[in-house]
């Protein structure tokens, strides 16, 4: 899953450690989220969305699902 955490964080001038403290997680976790190595749980995704005041779907984007085909059979 891709996400736009890094540009949003940098827009606000926050360090990874500052964002980590705002979310109640470690800096390593923020780094793992930003680099796409870790997809957050739903509760954490909601906390992130609330912090940035954006809907979840504008922050996280599935990178291997064809647009408009979610839940449909391909063929």
């Amino acid at each position: 899953m891709r996400n736009s955490l890094r540009p949003l964080r940098e827009e606000r001038g926050w360090s990874q450690a500052a964002l980590a403290d705002l979310l109640g997680v470690s800096r390593q976790t923020v780094n793992a989220l930003e680099t796409g190595r870790y997809d957050p749980s739903l509760p954490l995704a909601f906390r992130i969305a609330a912090l940035f005041e954006r809907p979840i779907e504008s922050l996280f984007h599935p990178d291997d699902v064809l647009s408009g085909t979610v839940g449909q059979e391909r063929g």
Partner: protein, 138 residues
Amino acid sequence: MTSDLDTARRSAGGRSRATAYLRDFLPGILGYIVVLALVGAFGDLDGETPTRFGWAMLPVVPAVWLGWAVLRHLRRVDEYEQVVLLRGLSVGFAVAMLAAVVLGMLAVAGLDLLIAPWLVFAAGMTSWAVATGILNAR
């Protein structure tokens, strides 16, 4: 890509969790060292007295304390750190089981290795530490 904002500095929460872990872990490891020294000095593990079994079990107390400290840490850290910690633990467990099977089969074949349990312990702990280090460095 990194920026000036991407320093390796820990978050305040990360620091407090690491401090709490050390506060839990240090008494256990210090206790383990002290107990081992006492057992070595007074335990008479090579002797014939029945009390030597009690002495031999004494280091289990701080070892349980250390396990409790790791469990508390596991409950304290966030979801990503839990994944890393549990992946490291699972690698350690798998390696320890493999080492146990290897040494068990060698024992069946007649190899009398007194330190076999310690080799299992060392294999598990080392692989846990290495796996966790690699996962954290990624």
